[in-house]
Amino acid sequence: MELNDLIFKIIFVIAVFAVSLLVAMYSTYAERKVAAFFQDRLGPNRAGPFGMLQPLADGIKMFMKEEIIPTNADKVLFVLGPSLAMMTACMTGVVIPWGSSLIIDGKEYVMQITDVNIGILYVFGVVSVGVYGIMIGGWASNNKFSLLGALRASSQMISYELAMGMSIVALVMMTGTLSVREIVESQPGGHWNVFVQPLGFLLFLICAFAETNRTPFDLPECETELVGGYHTEYSSMKLGFYLFAEYINMFISSAIIVCLFFGGYNFPFISELGLSHNMAAILGTVIFFAKVFFFIFFFMWIRWTIPRFRYDQLMRVGWKVLIPLAVVNIVLTAIYLMWKHDLWNTTLHVSQLNP
């Protein structure tokens, strides 16, 4: 790898990390503002103009609070839990294509940290490891409410991971690749996957809500039954990590939804604007973030509109509604592909399915 490439990659990695932290930080502010708007209040407005410095004040408060580790807690695991949650939250951003490519001095720099050819599987791997942060933290607290929260979180995340994976299978069948970048590039202009896979999108969206533990699936931390759920015993920055990881997860899952179903950095009429390559790439990135912010707003919109599920309802929806629907979606997609490539009467060779 050349030096230029290396420098670009390092800058880009730091930029992605900083941007996800910054977006997560201001998501907390946005969440409170959105909640205030829905409830006809003003929301935070004291720290800085329009309360813009509120996240900073919250962060300082978190750091200044006293660290409490319960006497009967398992000290190592108690610290490991939030660290794992934060780590897995930050790891997913690696395979997301944040934009097309920049050409500097005649050399092409791709705006993605790395393009793994099994990008989606990587995302699933990291997401499935993410459950350990909550489980370990909840168990190590040695508190029955924390334990119940952790058990709920793990069973919920395992159940919805299945439906999530199966909703993606149909999409992968349509595009014929597992690389996130190639999926984005297979939907140029306005040909977004959401128009050909509406059911898959709906299932994926619901499962993304469940995976990020947002309302209506926030049973692991539901205040009315479990005090604070898995982070009842946490205080100071360790609590901050758990809350922060949730917002980073929300940002990343919005980005993945945009990449898979809403064309990523593609938008209609991109080629008719007559922009230079770099300008088009930058505009694409701006559009990408606009889409992501819309989905973050959508997450909050749902949170302040819909009440929480009961636990048995949650399990019933996951196993008896979402998974069968995902299977139906796969079968329908397979039939469509067979029809499109006219494979009814020919011998099936997998190579024909890849256009």
Binding site: L77, G125, V131, M135, L151
Partner: protein
């Protein structure tokens, strides 16, 4: 570069595997096991099987070990009291294991003499190639494993049912 990576990974694998067996608390065993699985996934990547590494992490770390941890937490099985077996059994285990190890080591000595095929295609572990072969050459085992899963699912549901419902 990849050589150093391999040796570091190997050390970590062996260490975490030992900790799985020697940890007194089951929860620590499970956590070391998860770490061990990650190092094994690292080995797969070094051996050019990226797809397999991803599947390994998703299935083992993402599903099987979550189940184990879940059961330990739910049944609250984290008792340290578990006595290891008597010294006789331990010695027997060490001796028999050591003997087998010795036999295998002597076999490996001759493994270096095997004709290693240098013609290596880095594309061979990629998903496209894998898919082709899986659905053409290995279609029957694939279907049979689907059947196995169905059986396992029914079996697990039957076993997991409460006592009263079993005879109906």
């Amino acid at each position: 570069m990849s050589q150093y990576l391999f040796y570091i990974l190997s050390l970590l694998t062996a260490f975490s595997a030992m900790m799985v067996v020697f940890s007194r608390k089951p929860v620590y065993s499970v956590l070391y096991m998860i770490f061990c699985f990650f190092t094994i996934a690292g080995h797969y990547i070094l051996l050019n099987a990226q797809f397999l590494a991803a599947v390994h992490v998703i299935v083992y770390s993402g599903a099987i070990m979550v189940l184990f941890l879940y059961v330990i937490m739910m049944l609250n099985l984290n008792k340290e009291s578990e006595p290891h077996k008597s010294n006789i059994a331990k010695t027997a285990a060490v001796v028999s294991g050591g003997l087998l190890l010795m036999v295998l080591v002597s076999v490996f000595k001759s493994a270096d003499g095997l004709a290693i095929n240098p013609a290596f295609d880095s594309q061979i572990g990629m998903v496209e190639v894998l898919g082709m072969v899986l659905y053409e050459k290995y279609l029957l085992p694939f279907e049979v494993s689907a059947l196995l899963f169905l059986t396992a699912m029914i079996g697990a549901t039957m076993l997991g049912k409460k006592e009263g419902g079993a005879q109906s």
